[in-house]
Symmetry: C2
């Protein structure tokens, strides 16, 4: 048994060892079969990119690695994006227009931190997918909650609309203006306020970049309870405002459990301090929950208190190939039972996703020839125990034919490179043409049926229909690519996808939120009475509706 562990450990390092022998019972040897030198280099670049100086605009999702459709701040493409208001035929609500007096007020409040140059504003007006564009004339960069309070108090009095913006990595158009809303950036609110090593509770400002926080914590032997592809750019405030899910939700639960406190500025500028650093607090209604996942429409999050887990002493990542989705499900059930408390992620991708990552990002997969792939991560406190559990699991899934091929990585660098195969699918898709994105919660047994049905329905009208996502959470990312945007293709996809999801009691937005793109579809997942109640809450907390208008909810009747 010990030799198996050694093989597992050495797996990634050995380029030419044989793969697991699928026909051999009681032995599991994990190896790596592809050259990985280029990955190492890319990973290094990524690591550099992901730690920007705080005063610089953050890079987007590995943007500088992109080829023909680069999204860097010097790209010319933002100008080419059609205005959201024109594309979707939106009517501007009767907010005030910025006056010279407003510019003077903000310049005196935030000297040197008011951006009005059209070239500088361009990237903040366009979303990461480059399919939505607003025409804001002003971006504000407060450093403190007090400044945010002053900004909103003034805007509320003047009836000026505001779009809060974190890392601007959202996928539903929630973080960019639709018209000329003032962009309120959290980028300069990027300070860690405190970290308690006994309790593991971190308190920080909303503009801290997720990966920077993770690196800060790693040195203290802790990690953030969430991880996602956009970690190098996204802000913790934005993560909370959108109730981001990501890769670690399976293990550490949702932000609704791990966020312990929030500091929020309401639409009228009043400061709501619920920044408790307590694991338990049952004194009255839990107001912070109102702001988690409300996409900046009810208040602006300025600071976060969050419970962070210990950094696991041992991490393993298995990349496995399966011949059918039923084998994917069988493998998932087996890993939940056999890996138990050390299971920290369970993701799946179809073969087309891997083809995209290979062709557009020149990454290479360690295992080929399977229609489905699974990434299974373990995180634990004892490497020998974890490897033994993983080995038993791998023996089982290989012997039972659930998995036909695979590899395991235990070194941090190799683990990161394997993860990038999954994390960079979103980026690879943007290179494939126009992308129609759907983020759905479904009963896990039916997860891939929607991909199959959509593929059959669209036929040659689509370039590619791919499915991947968080298997452990029943969260499918369905993506359709085409050479160009087409009304007829969109009509073929929607409302088909939403109706299919509603019929299976799913959610039409598992983790991305509704933002601008999906707000009209909320009733596929929520009853009318619930939507009415949400509209009442919005009206109560933001009487003039200045906060992130045109987002999250359909207009009140």
């Amino acid at each position: 048994m010990v030799s198996c562990f050694v093989s597992l450990r050495l797996g990634w390092c050995c380029g030419t060892l044989p793969r697991w022998r699928t026909n051999v019972q009681h032995r599991t040897v994990a190896t790596w079969t592809s050259a990985t030198a280029q990955w190492g280099l890319q990973q290094k670049k990524l690591a550099e990119l992901y730690c920007p100086p705080v005063s610089q605009p953050p890079p987007r999702w590995g943007s500088s690695l992109l080829g023909k459709r680069a999204f860097s701040t010097t790209s010319a493409s933002p100008q080419e994006v059609m205005l959201t208001s024109e594309r979707y035929g939106v009517q501007r609500l009767p907010f005030s227009h910025l006056s010279d007096g407003d510019f003077a007020f903000f310049e005196s409040l935030l000297p040197g931190r008011v951006v009005t140059d059209p070239d500088e504003l361009r990237t903040f007006n366009v979303d990461w997918l480059q399919s939505m564009r607003g025409c804001s004339k002003m971006l504000l960069r407060p450093q403190t909650a007090a400044e945010v309070s002053e900004v909103l108090r003034y805007c509320n009095q003047r009836n000026l609309a505001v779009t809060p913006q974190g890392g601007n990595t959202g996928l539903v158009g929630g973080s960019v203006p639709v018209f000329d809303e003032i962009i309120l950036s959290t980028a300069l609110m990027n300070q860690v306020i405190s970290f308690d090593k006994v309790s593991g509770i971190l308190v920080c400002q909303a503009g801290c970049i997720l990966e920077s926080l993770n690196q800060y914590l790693a040195e203290l032997d802790f990690i953030m309870p969430l991880d996602l592809g956009a970690k190098g750019s996204c802000h913790i405030g934005g993560n909370v405002a959108t109730n981001a899910g990501g890769l670690r939700l399976l293990r550490y639960g949702s932000l609704r459990g791990t966020v312990l406190g929030l500091e929020v500025v309401l639409a009228d500028g009043s400061l709501l301090n619920c920044l408790a650093s307590l694991r338990k607090d049952n004194t009255g209604y839990d107001l912070k929950q109102l702001f988690i996942g409300s996409e900046g429409t009810l208040g602006v999050i300025t600071a976060v208190s969050i419970l962070c887990p210990r950094k696991p002493k041992s991490v393993n990542l298995a990349f496995l190939g399966c011949q059918s989705f039923s084998q994917v499900l069988g493998t998932f059930t087996a890993c939940k039972g056999m890996l138990g408390e050390i299971l920290s992620a369970c993701e799946f991708m179809d073969d087309l996703c891997m083809t995209l990552v290979e062709s557009h990002l020149t990454l290479s997969r360690p295992v080929t020839g399977s229609p489905f792939y699974i990434l299974i991560e373990t995180s634990g406190s004892n490497s020998a125990h974890d490897e033994e559990k993983l080995n038993h699991f791998l023996e089982h899934v290989m012997a039972s034919g659930l998995v036909t091929d695979g590899t395991v990585a235990t070194e941090d660098k190799k683990i990161k490179a394997l993860w990038s195969l999954r994390e960079r699918i979103t980026e690879a898709l943007t290179h494939d043409g126009c992308v129609y994105k759907y983020d759905l919660s479904l009963p896990v047994e039916r997860l891939y049926d929607l991909v199959t049905d959509t593929r059959a329905r669209l036929g040659a009208a689509a370039k590619r229909v791919v499915g991947y996502g968080h298997l452990g959470d029943g969260n499918l990312h369905l993506n359709v690519t085409a050479e160009s945007d087409s009304r007829s293709l969109r009509d073929a996809i929607e409302p088909f996808v939403y109706e299919w999801t509603a019929r299976h009691h799913g959610s039409i937005s598992a983790e991305h939120g509704l933002g601008f793109r999906k707000k009209q579809h909320i009733e596929y997942s929520k009853p009318r009475g619930a939507v009415l109640l949400m509209q009442q809450l919005k009206a109560m907390l933001d009487t003039k509706g200045i906060l992130n208008p045109y987002k999250t909810l359909p207009a009140a009747p």
Copy 2:
């Protein structure tokens, strides 16, 4: 090393084996030193009691085991409890009084399920601590959400006040009427609606008893994500309405993360169906969070969807003695680091708690002679791995002098008996006289300082000042007993305890809620702006204020 595991496994079974040898490095032998036959018997009785037929009123916290202050339904004591309105000088709000027409309406709506007999009503009017008493003239027992909807629609029209009641095990007077509010019992809404073995998601009605659910799930190889002393009586709907914490929060997180959906009837009778069975759903504001922890003041929870963990294959429970609270803290830090992902509970009790449990409940502790005791539970998927981790931890804490004595149980029966030492402290306290109860969140380093300071402050005025609680969550249960209720004693405790807690940025209610008893103290833990916002929410959702009046929030200005 193997011999250690065997000893650990046999620990409880051997009545006369030596304890751990504190002076021996590199060897840890866990044993059991006290006779346990009587415990086994009591545990069997408890198990019988905890599974009542659904049509009977549920027993309270092991109530039939009580001696001189029995709380059973045949006890005469409820009559002796002073009326809350008189004791606290509360003015009745201008709700309607029940008329003959109302009785007729409810009898036709819920034939045979309207209780008006004063003798039958008595126990439902009095809280478990027997210190609050209302004078409700009617208890309703709906079986469906539709019936609850009809009840509330009628009550709202008629301006009749309603107190929702689950197992009536709360400790802050939240579940009993203050005046003549109609008691709306969830006892007959006790059906499991569905359970999905792949996702682990349970959907059930609000009146299911927590322990019954746990037993139902155990047969399917799952457990409930929460566990608490009142499990034999409390209803899952009440657990959610009070955001119950309990013993497993350390491992599985709070109900805010594990509750996936709720069905709620609002004050006007409208049914809000947010009963999703999805791990992720970001479509609009998360309305269910409004009802978690709002103590029935915003709506009546009629069904719950909750994520349940797999039943651990291996459970160990260590009962350890420490010579100081700093050693308790050291042990806690060590177990978090060394037990990692298998740590499922970490509780502490001071010596006085154990004295109470021994003297009032005739339980006996396995280890004596320490001023502090810790219960550390591990739950994992591999018994050999878990025992090895536990053994290393025990070796470390013994060798370093953090722990001076202890025992480990691995058998289910023995584990339950050990747990009862902790779970039944609340019950033991009620035998000690009049009890002043405080449930506080504090930075874990300062947790016991409050007990010491309170003891010093009260001196001979108190009979006993004891501290115990959920160390892993920073949650102290501070209890003061006295021969009788005394205004001067209460004035010596309050606001001292609240001010002390606020000074250390704690919460004056970690898990019990505010109910009637603590609503006036909310501003020790929440800023005025937050309380005002809560009052706005209450006014929006319950315009006439008929739902659980006099609870949770101070009256709006």
